[in-house]
Amino acid sequence: MTTWIRLATPAALVSTVAAPAYAVQYLSIAQAQKQAFPSATAFAQLDARSWKAQSGGTVLGLIVVDHVIGKHLYIDYTVALDPSGRIKRVDILQYRESYGGEVRDASWLAQFVGKSSASALKVEQDIRNISGATLSSHHVTEGVKRIVAAYGNRAR
């Protein structure tokens, strides 16, 4: 028989840990270029945000860097296109969520978390994974479509 245990009432929620800043650096632009086109010997800059991947005299494709900036979200990402203008891959370079605050009350967590929360929460070091409502990648998907439309015929 499963029983339920109440952890907090609405009144207790006032002291909920607030305002995480969640940031991850996954790849630099150079790393993303190399990962998308491992056999490329050179990346020739096409404009402020795009590079042609070349191997000897052959064009392998194009890589474009773009970003999404929202109220709480900052994302840098790259789109790699093959010479026919089709998407080869999309990589997230940097992800940052910011609410502009600090964790206020880590001791509230200790009530039920157990051992691991004995030390104070170190924002950006301890917050590695967040679960909750599914994060929408809608704006990145729209950005990828715009890049394909703008650069699709320039990847040759």
Partner: protein, 304 residues
């Protein structure tokens, strides 16, 4: 965060969310190859199970499976098998054939069928038939499926398999909050408040298990759209009105992902189903009350 040389962390937009894969304690070449292959497996699931892609198995089934059997990817078949088992065990509360109701509610795109199907009980004729050779047939023209409530969990499980097949000793796959991890090091996971995304409800340690959460979709670019609830109670055809968010811990992410939907709808009455799958849960009610099952806390915490 500085990345240690024996760690690798990558993210890509897949399955309508951000999928992150992190590995550790293997040589860089092995880790890089494992992560690439794991993303490939998620990409395959994305292509098979997207409701939005007209070439996906799901779209082909929704167009043709009422007229005759349609062959699908073995993975799509496997997900539907589990979905039907969950449908029966949850007395119809977990229902992948809810797509027409979601379309009617504006939660999924596409034409609204002339006559949305009547709510089905667990005793009703099975609307989705699983046939030999990975073939699927729908009994009714009004049946349309959406695997959005289960595909992310399945993708996490498959990606984790790939990492382990490559011999990586420590790994984590996180598909927008539905996640699973293996290895000796526990992973800290913070659970976000369902309607205050800047607040955390609690922290849990995940070791060789999965955790999934539901609470609608979160748009951090235009946060005004946070409230959009993508879960519908098949009995009322309305979003659940008592539970704001649910998280489930289970041995597989597929099960954890699917059970969050049932817990969202059923609240504390989901205890028997959670027990059956040896899963534990945390629920946040609309009034802000937070409750967990005994299993969620674990034996150590109870002794303290």
């Amino acid at each position: 965060m500085a990345t240690a040389p024996d760690r690798l962390r990558r993210a890509r937009p897949l399955l309508g969310t951000f999928v992150e894969i992190a590995v550790a304690h293997a040589v860089p070449e092995v880790m890089a190859a494992a992560v690439e292959c794991a993303f490939d497996s998620i990409d395959r699931i994305h292509r098979c199970m997207s409701f939005h892609d007209p070439a996906s198995d799901v779209s082909r089934l929704n167009r043709h499976a009422a007229a005759g059997a349609v062959m699908v990817d073995p993975w799509t078949f496997q997900v539907l098998e589990t979905a039907l088992e969950l449908y029966h065990r949850s007395a119809g509360l977990f229902d992948v054939a809810i797509a027409p109701v979601l379309q009617e509610a504006g939660l999924l795109p596409g034409p609204i069928r002339a006559r949305p199907p009547e709510p089905r009980g667990s005793s009703a004729d099975e609307p989705i038939e699983l046939l030999p050779g990975h073939r699927i047939r729908f009994r009714d023209r009004n049946v349309a499926i959406d695997l959005g409530g289960i595909a992310k969990g399945f993708a996490v499980d498959r990606a984790l398999d790939v990492l382990q097949e490559h011999g990586v000793p420590q790994g984590l796959v996180n598909a927008g909050g539905d996640l699973a991890a293996f290895g000796a090091e526990p992973e800290s996971v913070f659970i976000r408040h369902p309607f205050k995304p800047d607040q955390l409800v609690c922290q849990v340690q995940i070791t060789n298990e999965a955790l999934a959460s539901s609470g609608g979709r979160l748009d951090l670019v235009e946060p005004s759209s946070v409230a959009r609830q993508a879960i519908i109670d098949p009995r009322t055809r309305r979003p659940p009105d008592a539970i704001a968010g649910a998280s489930v811990r289970a041995s597989s992410c597929l099960v954890a992902d699917a059970l969050t939907k049932v817990v969202m709808i059923q609240g504390k009455d989901s205890a028997a189903l959670l027990n059956h799958y040896r899963a534990s849960a945390l629920v946040v009610s609309m009034s802000g009350e937070i409750c967990v099952t005994l299993g969620w806390l674990g034996g150590e915490n109870l002794a303290a």
